[in-house]
């Protein structure tokens, strides 16, 4: 599957168009575009672990929130650090937490990992709600900086970087092959000499840190954060839907799903305001995609359907006792 240079033309055109966007549209649409870029990036961060490694993380909002809160706390009194200095700080904080959660639980079956991440996100939300230095339920204010273009370009750069790293690491390197191997058959991958625990942890770390960077930018952008707005379970829900909708484990799936769902989100918001109905739509979307479109929108256009039942797969499955996925 070689990329010919011709296939890069639409991609380059899209990047040029996105770079020129601030000159073409007003601030209102620029804000929406900024949000769309953020969600495309967040969906991609979730997809690194969920799609490529096959481990579902139901607590990704925790890392988004960690980035947001680290930036907010460091930029506020008494430190008043500059914004770009707080991003690495958020990365470090997130990485520490990700290792604490990931190292023990990634060794277990995916189900335990899903519970652990979900529980971690909820613990963190509860913690931020009750302690003082985070401002509790009231949240935190950041020094306002009202330049839509700055945030658009920052988000743009972060999103492009995210996709570039994903492409290079997961689609174009040995590391990506290791990750996919362990997703498709973990015992077989281990038998090939892959240190699956380490590879999973590295992937999880990268995924968490990416979400944290977007959290930092988001906090500075909206200038006010509270536990619900950056730790809320709905944030994770949304990432999951975006990735499933676009196509699990594909490079462009999360971008398509992310931008698509975000536009739907804004349309609903414009017409009906902040409605609980959106949560129902998210849920219905997950159910329908799992049942009828397991390969997502990307799967509709794939030249050949993504197969899992290769001859080798079947043979290995039979040898391993074959109860569907290994368990």
């Amino acid at each position: 599957m070689k990329y010919r240079w011709v296939s890069l033309v639409p991609l380059i055109a899209a990047i040029v168009l996105l770079a020129l966007l601030p000159a073409l549209v007003n601030n209102y649409w620029l804000r929406i575009a900024t949000g769309a870029l953020m969600w495309a990036g967040l969906a991609c961060s979730w997809n690194m672990l969920g799609g490529y490694a096959g481990y579902i993380n139901f607590g990704q909002s925790a890392f988004f929130g960690l980035g947001a809160y680290t930036s907010a706390l460091l930029m506020g009194d008494p430190l008043s650090l500059p914004f770009f200095a707080t991003i690495p700080a958020g990365i470090v904080v997130t990485a520490i937490f990700a290792i604490i959660i990931g190292a023990p639980t990634l060794r277990l079956r995916g189900a335990y990992f899903a519970i652990a991440t979900w529980a971690f996100a909820e613990v963190l939300t509860q913690f931020v709600n009750v302690v003082d230095f985070t401002g509790g339920i009231g949240g935190l204010n950041l020094p306002p900086f009202l330049d839509e273009r700055f945030f658009y370009f920052t988000m743009f750069a972060a999103a492009v970087l995210t996709y570039l790293v994903t492409w290079a690491l997961f689609e174009r390197s040995r590391f990506g092959l290791k990750v996919k191997a362990l997703r498709d058959h973990e015992p077989a991958a281990e038998a090939m000499g892959i240190n699956t625990a380490l590879v999973k942890l590295q992937t999880f770390l990268l995924s968490a840190v990416t979400a944290s960077v977007f959290g930092s930018i988001f906090a500075y952008w909206v200038t006010f954060i509270n536990p619900k707005s950056v730790f809320g379970g709905d944030i994770t829900d949304q990432m999951v839907v975006m990735v499933l909708l676009g196509g699990l484990g594909s490079l462009w799936g999360p971008a398509i799903g992310g931008v698509g769902l975000f536009v739907v989100n804004r349309l609903i918001w414009m017409n009906w305001g902040d409605t609980a109905f959106y949560i129902a739509i998210l849920g219905a979307a997950i159910v329908l995609v799992v049942l009828f479109l397991p390969n997502g929108i990307v799967g509709l256009f794939a030249k050949r359907p993504a197969r899992s039942g290769t001859v080798l797969d079947k043979a290995v499955n039979r040898l391993a006792g074959g109860e569907g996925g290994h368990s």
């Binding site: 335990y112 652990a116 909820e122 509860q126 997950i286």
Partner: protein, 290 residues
């Protein structure tokens, strides 16, 4: 000391009610190999059924118990095969897709309930509401005693069913090894539908009790899902016997933290414990997990 005893008793009583649906949750995991995020949704739906039967028809909340069992039993019976199909489909990662499905179901239930019934909290009136029972120095609400007694009978019945009947044997065999059970002539697909139906029915009944003890609103579903996860992790995923112990422990922890530290810390304490157990002894404190 009185407060201590009272807290302990309260915790054990609530733990008994929690045990009913967590046993079903464990059973479902054993048979279907699916973690059911939707468990909290069924609990809340049971509570709402009781509320509407009381508010619209003027019936006592307890009358909703059999209705909840039949209604949600049927719904579960229909959902079970869908879960089974997804779990055993030939997609790259069926375990993950099944998890996503129950997560989506839970989100759909929560969003649907919020849309239909709003954020308001309702209580379920019963004949026993407001009454209390004094045993020596300890006073507990009568509704909790009745709920716990009822829960104990459900749990007892479930254990008898699982350990003393042929069909119960088939369920346990399937939980132990699906392949061997299938070779012995168990129709796994139909059994999955039955187990999920049974579990959904029992969970909705527990929801009626929870609604009568506390109150019901769409957001508390999250709490019950957490309870089920907590019990599952402490007991080890799939362990039915451990679920009873872990549920009682959960009730006691919650009661003590609420009484002595503050109710806003109870969720934090539960999550913290859950998390610690995952870090220290991930297959459950009883080392019984699958």
């Amino acid at each position: 000391m009185d407060l201590f005893l009272q807290t302990l008793l309260n915790g054990l009583l609530i733990g008994g009610v929690i045990a009913t649906f967590t046993i079903g949750f464990q059973l479902t995991f054993g048979v279907l190999h699916v973690i059911d995020f939707a468990v909290g949704g069924w609990v809340v739906l049971g509570g709402y059924l009781a509320y509407y039967m009381a508010a619209e028809l003027g019936l006592d909340g307890f009358l909703a118990i059999p209705v909840a069992f039949v209604l949600f039993g049927m719904i579960g019976y229909l959902i079970g095969p869908v879960l089974y199909n997804v779990r055993n489909s030939r997609t790259a990662r069926p375990e993950l897709m099944a998890l996503a499905l129950t997560f989506g179901l839970f989100t759909l239930l929560r969003g649907g309930m919020l849309t239909a019934w709003g954020f308001n909290t309702h209580s379920v009136p019963t004949a026993l509401s407001g009454e209390s029972l004094s045993i020596g120095p300890v006073t507990v609400p009568l509704i909790r005693v009745a709920a716990a007694a009822f829960a104990a009978s459900i749990a007892g019945g479930l254990f008898v069913f699982l350990y003393r009947t042929r069909y119960g044997l088939a369920i346990r065999a399937t939980a132990e090894s699906r392949q061997n059970a299938a070779l012995m002539g168990v129709n796994i697909r139909r059994l999955s539908a039955n187990v999920y139906g049974l579990y959904a029915g029992i969970t909705a009944m527990a929801g009626v009790l929870m609604g009568a003890i506390y109150s019901v609103n769409p957001e508390v579903g999250l709490r019950y899902t957490l309870f089920a996860f907590f019990v599952a992790v402490l007991a080890g995923l799939g362990s039915v016997g451990g679920a009873l112990v872990a549920a009682l422990l959960l009730g006691v922890i919650e009661a003590f933290v609420s009484t002595y530290v503050g109710s806003s810390y109870s969720l934090l304490a539960i999550f913290g414990t859950l998390f610690l157990v995952l870090l220290v002894s991930p297959r459950g404190i009883l080392q019984r997990g699958l």
